[in-house]
């Protein structure tokens, strides 16, 4: 194993080296980095700038030699200076990378979660109306040019949505009815069993969604959102039952009870937590800390219930605790929405289409959190549409492949419950190829955010590349490539290792 990793690391190193050489040569061919100096009016200043940039970028030596000089600097952690600004590239590289990770991270996590769930459901209900509709939409999403969608999102999701908020945030009646019917149709398609059961579930789905939308519309909930303890309690019970049904089965009473206990603890701690949240020292690390505490409490509750399967109870309760923490977090963030939205710099146009944050905004941690969310939402949707389609299709194909295996038939034949067959025998094995795809994708997605960053004017990694290339500035472009390529090769290596860990049939290094 160690030899395998070492060999792959060495190979990865040389791959990055090789591809950086290719890009460096292309870049050297692309044009004169000094072209911008013609804009400088004073001849003496122009000559000084030319001389200093030529010296710093070694423009007077042959490109191949220049590459090795550049490489020597990179090994010492120096990515050189930008010809255009004469500032070291490394200065804001970290900040830009963090910004891109923020953008890509939210979109990736969400699309993996949603994509896999939808893919699994379509595989389980193959050839249903839901399956056909989803498949059609994954094809459409695949075909969408991201920049085109992003521009439309900016207009519709940004400007029109903000106008709609200003006009009182009421849904038109036809929209409520149509959404309700669509939700009912989806529930009907997903539900299994005899016709009358599916019809009932469909009707309930349609009714619930219509009622919620009507409530939201009539009370202007979006203008001042929040859950409050009662809705959170409903969420908690729902989460407890849902997670238990998926992970342990409702027949597992100990798991169900520990999940419900965890949910109850969560709802009760909602009250003291508000004080903690309102503390001035609240920051992102405290938030993470609270999340970890919640998971720990969940696990302890699960163990405390004992029984032969206490590990399962602990896992179930931990997931319940995590999800409930997310709900409580969202609730607290929502409470500050009105304050954020009405602040003097936002002026009731909360959904932002430009940049990653409002620099002039001052306020508590929660106001800033709202600001981050409202900047993230549109680019995240744009990025998600496409990766969502990828993950849905892969997980559907992978799940179908597994469900057609003989051992699934065996599992059904020996009388295991449908949940055990689908989750334990099917889902776990279907995830093996998917894990490698996800790891592989994360490597590539960093570079794929260039267009989204351009449309939404995020001054992050993609911008570094685009402005660098447009002004024929080699060092920023090369810094971008080195970071992206390193991420990609490491992700590939992880994908291979993950496969070996997850699938015992694969043996590496032997």
């Amino acid at each position: 194993m160690t030899t395998f990793i070492l060999r792959r690391l060495v190979a990865a190193f040389f791959i990055v080296l090789g591809s950086s050489f290719i890009v460096y040569m292309l870049m050297a061919n692309a044009g004169d980095p000094l072209a911008f100096t013609t804009e400088i009016a004073s001849p003496t200043v122009r000559e000084t700038v030319r001389a200093s940039v030529t010296d710093a970028l070694n423009l007077d030596v042959h490109p191949v030699a220049r590459y090795f000089l550049w490489l020597g600097d990179v090994f010492q952690g120096d990515f050189g200076i930008s010809a255009r600004t004469q500032q070291p590239v490394i200065d804001d590289l970290g900040g830009r990378l963090l910004m891109t990770l923020k953008l890509v991270g939210a979109a990736t996590v969400l699309s993996i979660l949603v994509g896999i769930s939808v893919g699994i459901v379509t595989a389980l209900r193959q050839y249903s109306g839901f399956d056909y509709t989803t498949t059609f939409f994954t094809f459409v999403f695949f075909s969408l040019p991201v920049f085109w969608v992003a521009v439309i999102l900016k207009a519709v999701g940004g400007i029109d949505f903000n106008d709609w908020l200003r006009d009182g945030a009421e849904f038109p009646a036809w929209l409520i009815v149509a959404t309700g019917l669509a939700a009912g149709g989806i529930c009907y398609s997903i539900a299994g069993g005899p016709l009358h059961r599916r019809l009932t579930i469909g009707a309930i789905g349609a009714g619930v969604v219509t009622a919620i939308l009507a409530y939201i519309s009539s009370t202007g909930w979006i203008l001042d959102p929040g859950f409050g303890p009662i809705v959170i309690a409903l969420f908690a019970v729902g989460i407890a039952f849902g997670v238990t049904a998926i992970m342990a089965g409702l027949g597992n009473r100990k798991a169900l009870h520990s999940a419900l206990t965890t949910a109850a603890i969560g709802v009760v701690t909602w009250f003291p937590l508000q004080l903690v949240f309102d503390d001035d020292g609240m920051n992102i690390w405290r938030l993470f800390g609270l999340g970890i505490v919640a998971i720990a409490v969940g696990s302890i509750v699960g163990y405390a219930y004992g029984g032969f399967d206490k590990g399962m109870s602990a896992r179930t309760s931990a997931v319940v605790a995590l999800l409930l923490s997310c709900v409580i977090f969202v609730d607290r963030a929502m409470q500050s929405w009105a304050e954020y939205s009405s602040s003097s710099v936002i002026r009731n146009r909360p959904i932002k289409t430009i940049g990653d944050r409002e620099v002039r905004l001052e306020g508590s941690f929660w106001v800033v959190t709202n600001d981050t969310f409202s900047h993230l939402i549109l680019p995240t949707v744009a990025l998600m549409l496409i990766s969502l389609a990828t993950y849905t299709r892969y997980s559907r194909a992978s799940m179908l492949e597994v469900l057609n295996q003989d051992y699934i038939r065996t599992a059904r034949a020996k009388g295991l419950t449908e949940r055990t067959v689908v989750i334990r025998h099917g889902f776990r094995n279907a995830m093996i190829p998917l894990a490698t795809i996800v790891a592989f994708d994360i490597g590539g997605i960093l570079g794929g955010a260039v267009i989204t960053e351009t449309v939404f004017e995020w001054n992050a990694m993609g911008r570094l590349f685009q402005t660098g290339l447009l002004s024929l500035d080699p060092n920023p472009v090369m810094a971008f490539f080195v970071v992206i390529a390193t991420f990609a090769v490491i992700a590939n290596l992880l994908a291979d290792l993950l496969y070996a860990v997850l699938d015992p049939r694969i043996r590496i290094g032997s």
Binding site: L26, L144, F147, G447, F465, Q466, L469
Partner: protein, 354 residues
């Protein structure tokens, strides 16, 4: 009353034997063609794609051939105070302007004096040229490199695959952008060449994987014992077996080629003025979305339509080439097959065999 569930096995032949009977005596090509023609999504997509190609080539003409549309993509159109599209699909009895295309079906751009329909058709033509050239180029490179690497193995494989990795490690859009700049690619052909030079990597990998599996098969050994040269084995014995993979991934590659070309043009690195492509049109008019959305919408709609068609066709081809693909037969088919079965066994019992 709930009807009893009919067990297909009890009625007669099961799904597999029905499928086998349908394809008995047909060549591989015929089987694939039949399966493809039965794929409804793929057929609909094929019809739509042919329609788009015909519309784009005949309307404004292609090369030296004139078209039937009154404007060319570079004709200066007299400005009109109402720039919005004149195409209407709502009949007069529904309160619309009737089913008509009018003078400027996709609207017009007064600032540049261009008819949007002619301009969009020009963009479609150029995008089609781009994907055609890049498909040709990347298939050639990918197939040659992939088959050589897979067939010979050893250090040739190692070198070629490391080269593939080097290109694969960088997102296609970015390396194409840098290369386009390096080679000064602004026109249709040069952008297509640049994209083709970097798009072959996934195809090379797929072809190599197929070769690795196929070269161990008995028919390859038989050919080698029979004295066939390596070149003959590669091109006559192994390559025809990989056609399915190549055709399917080329179709999908053409789809992603359009998107990549459009994205390149959008970032300002691809096809640039005076050349137009669908991507450069979207780029030119992205600021006009709120005031004159038709300038922006139509090129995008055509990108989506073409890529969507290619996706569906690729999906249909994949199903057609996949030997494991089972069609779910309709109960009607199974029953009628069982009927024929019974008739056959009654009538032909004396003949025997099959």
């Amino acid at each position: 009353m709930i009807p009893e569930v009919v067990n297909p096995d009890a009625v007669g032949p099961d799904e597999i034997s029905l499928e086998q009977r349908e394809i008995a005596g047909l060549s591989q090509g015929q089987i694939v063609r039949r399966r493809f023609l039965r794929h409804k999504g793929a057929m609909a997509a094929l019809v739509l794609l042919i329609f788009i190609v015909l519309l784009a080539t005949t309307s404004i003409g292609f090369g030296p051939f004139p078209g039937w549309w009154k404007y060319a993509s570079n004709t200066v159109v007299p400005p009109n105070p109402d720039q919005s599209p004149t195409m209407s699909l709502r009949p007069t009895w529904l309160g619309g302007a009737g089913v008509t295309i009018g003078d400027h079906p996709f609207g017009l751009d007064n600032e540049k004096g261009r008819d949007m329909f002619a301009l969009t058709m020009r963009g479609v033509q150029m995008s089609l040229v781009v994907i055609f050239v890049l498909a040709l180029l990347s298939v050639t490179i990918g197939v040659v490199l992939g088959s050589v690497a897979g067939y010979f193995g050893g250090w040739i494989d190692a070198v070629l695959m490391r080269l593939t990795d080097m290109i694969l490690v960088i997102p296609l859009l970015l390396i194409a952008a840098v290369a386009g700049y390096a080679f000064g690619a602004k026109g249709v052909w040069s952008v297509a060449l640049v994209l083709g030079l970097f798009l072959w990597t996934s195809l090379a990998r797929l072809v190599r994987a197929e070769f690795l599996a196929l070269r161990e098969r008995e028919f390859v050994d038989a050919a080698r014992v029979g004295g066939a040269s390596s070149r003959r084995i590669i091109f006559k014995h192994i390559l025809p077996n990989t056609v399915g993979t190549i055709v399917v991934s080329t179709t999908l590659l053409m789809g992603s080629g359009i998107l990549t070309e459009a994205a390149l043009s959008f970032l300002g690195f691809g096809i640039r003025s005076p050349n137009v492509s669908l991507g450069s049109l979207v780029n030119d008019y992205d600021g006009a979305f709120s005031s004159r959305p038709w300038l922006f919408i139509w090129p995008g709609v055509f990108i989506i339509a073409i890529v969507l068609c290619l996706q569906f066709i690729g999906d249909g081809l994949r199903d057609a080439f996949d030997p494991r693909q089972k069609r779910i037969p309709k109960r009607k088919d199974l029953e009628s097959a069982a009927e024929i079965d019974r008739a056959m066994t009654r009538g032909n019992r004396t003949i025997g065999g099959h």
